[in-house]
């Protein structure tokens, strides 16, 4: 088959595939999880069966992800992790593998699961094209949203962790929180966000992620894409 080749640029700290000779720009593991996704919620969810539910994104952003977990109240280990996602191949594959990671070997504790980073998910997938990074970022966010939900339901409010900010552009040290502030401040386009934050000016590789965040925050606060 004659597949489109995707040049993949890697940067420091990124585990995107550097192999440009592959005929498909996803690894075999990505393909396995994309074509045969594990642990997805097959029918409508009976939410009463789950004690930790999380959601992130919106279809307008191009990705929406929901997760339903059964957490053992004694051990706080994840016994079951079901999901549904509206998204591209990477979003489906990264969520599928995350569902395996958090439930294998008896299941992760919530503390372990919360430490799961996008890089860990990408590593297990054997890398993703760099501009697909945001897909696995969504999946660890949904997981943490569900973890908070469990603590909320069990009145362990002290254990809930509000999302701390995440560096989007290592060059300008701009975080997602900075972009959120810029959008709240009226910025609607990449150019306007750049005027306020300088994000991506020395590091244009991060611009797709910035674009996605701008849309996400505009949708979140102004209901407009």
């Amino acid at each position: 088959m004659d597949h489109k080749q995707e040049p993949v640029l890697g940067t420091k700290g990124d585990v995107a595939s550097h192999d440009q000779t592959k005929s498909w720009f996803y690894t075999d593991i990505v393909k396995e999880h994309f074509f045969h996704p594990k642990n997805f919620m097959e029918n409508d969810a009976d939410e009463s069966q789950y004690n930790a539910i999380g959601k992130v994104g919106s279809p307008a952003c191009g990705d929406e992800l929901r997760v339903w977990m059964k957490v053992n109240p004694e051990t706080e280990k994840i016994e079951e992790f079901k999901w549904k996602t509206f998204g591209c191949g990477s979003a489906i594959a990264s969520t599928s593998i995350a569902s395996v990671i958090v439930t294998e070997n008896g299941g992760m504790t919530l503390t372990e699961a919360r430490a799961l980073k996008p890089q860990d998910i990408m590593e297990r997938l054997g890398g993703l094209p760099q501009r697909k990074f945001h897909c696995s970022v969504l999946c660890d966010k949904a997981l943490r949203d569900a973890i908070n939900d469990f603590y909320r339901r069990t009145d362990q409010f002290d254990k809930m962790v509000v999302e701390s900010s995440r560096i989007i552009d290592p060059v300008s040290k701009v975080t997602d929180h900075d972009i959120e502030e810029a959008v709240l401040d009226g910025a609607q386009t990449i150019e306007q966000v750049q005027q306020k934050t300088k994000v991506g000016i020395g590091n244009p590789n991060c611009l797709p992620a910035v674009e996605e965040l701008i849309r996400f925050y505009r949708e979140k606060y102004f209901g407009a894409a």
């Binding site: 994309f34 074509f35 191009g62 929406e64 929901r66 549904k84 509206f86 191949g89 489906i92 697909k132």
Partner: protein
């Protein structure tokens, strides 16, 4: 393993008859048309013949054809070259919000950096521009109107001759000799009337790789008397407007490809329309929550563009690819920008609908069996992706 290519709007395979006429110029006839010796003369003659053949098909004069590297360059040269050369006569440009990016981004550049005012006409939900919209937008300082002949994503055919007529009328009434009309005809060339006399256009873009010709080839028709500022400098080729040694083999291939598609277009249109309609009706009939994007009537014979509500186009693209069906999506993740299709958005639909759009573009090699295979393969793939999806977009957004 099937191998069904339904992405002919992205590019077409090279017609063997085109390859055949190109080969000598990739081999023994390697001369540079600018050389004053026998080898050069062979190339010069071939170039002249190709230009004349193209001019005959388009009903224009040979000296009105400028060869370029493709559709993008032709569009850029038409928009940037014309606007920069003629800004003393006016700084207003009219185009549409669903043009190809080669027009759209050139216009945006002029707007953002060079002091031009650009009106972006919005198509209706069927993907059509009304000639009245153009007439209403014309001003005394309008120098350029650029509207595509057929849209590359949704395949809608615009009333170019009518629009051209009303622009000519306005030009005559107001005595605005510097108001010109450009059209990007890349998607139209293989199927529609390319008689430029009838189209009332002053500049026209077309290219080789959409008409079974070689990639890296294109042309801009420029009516006599129109002046363009070059984008490149350094030689006298193409009257100095497009310097650089001509791609002789490519130009010969382009001329042959144009001749063939125009000769065969009526028969090919009659052959493809039933396939197109079978695919549209088959999908809409067998898969719920789907919509056809773009007008059914004013539509290229090879274009099918469907939104599969609640799923993301790229995922479906990859599932189809694994089944040996090659289609395309303007949606988020396949393009480096992550933007969903600007065309579907321009038609007035929300991001959710744009994200789920897929384009199947038929061509020479498409058979009835191909269409049947797609119709058999598609429903279970859509069902699988929908079972993974948490989304159920309300009908009010897409019906």
């Amino acid at each position: 393993m099937s191998d069904i290519y339904l992405d002919n709007a992205a590019t077409t395979p090279l017609d063997p008859r085109v390859l055949e006429v190109m080969l000598p110029y990739l081999g023994e006839k390697y001369g540079n048309p600018s050389s004053f010796h026998s080898k050069g003369k062979v190339a010069t003659d071939a170039l002249r013949e190709a230009r004349e053949s193209i001019a005959t098909v388009l009903h224009v004069r040979p000296d009105e054809i400028l060869f370029t590297s493709g559709g993008t360059e032709s569009d850029n040269l038409a928009i940037l070259g014309y606007a920069r050369m003629n800004k003393q006569f006016g700084t207003h440009i009219i185009t549409t919000s669903f043009e190809h990016h080669a027009v759209l981004e050139a216009a945006m550049r002029l707007e953002k950096k060079e002091g031009f005012r650009v009106t972006y006409l919005t198509p209706d939900r069927e993907g059509m521009i009304d000639p009245k919209q153009v007439a209403d937008a014309l001003c005394d300082d309008t120098i350029l109107v650029s509207i595509m002949y057929a849209n590359n994503e949704v395949g809608t055919i615009q009333p170019i001759a009518e629009i051209g007529n009303s622009i000519q009328k306005f030009r005559a009434e107001k005595n605005l000799s510097h108001l010109v009309f450009h059209t990007d005809a890349c998607q139209a060339t293989a199927y529609l009337d390319m008689n430029i006399e009838k189209l009332h256009v002053d500049m026209l873009t077309m290219n080789g790789p959409k008409i079974y010709g070689p990639k890296g080839t294109g042309l801009l028709y420029v009516k006599r008397g129109i002046k363009l500022e070059p984008l490149m400098f350094g030689g006298a080729q193409e009257k100095g407007i497009r310097p650089g040694t001509e791609d002789v083999a490519g130009i010969i291939g382009l001329a042959k490809a144009l001749e063939l598609v125009q000769k065969e277009r009526v028969a090919e249109t009659a052959r493809l329309i039933p396939f197109r309609d079978q695919l549209i009706d088959g999908i809409l009939g067998s898969i719920k929550r789907t919509r056809l994007n773009g007008s059914r009537e004013n539509r290229l014979p090879n274009n099918v563009n469907i939104s599969f509500i609640d799923i993301e186009g790229e995922a479906l693209l990859l599932y189809l690819d694994a089944a040996g069906i090659y289609a395309s999506t303007g949606s988020a993740c396949t393009s480096a920008s992550l933007d969903p299709s600007h065309v579907i958005l321009a038609l007035g639909f929300p991001y959710e609908v744009a994200h789920g759009s897929m384009r199947f573009s038929l061509g020479h090699e498409t058979t009835k069996e191909d269409i049947e295979f797609v119709l058999k393969t598609l429903p279970p793939l859509v069902a699988t992706l929908r079972s993974l999806s948490p989304v159920s977009v309300d009908e009010k957004y897409w019906l």
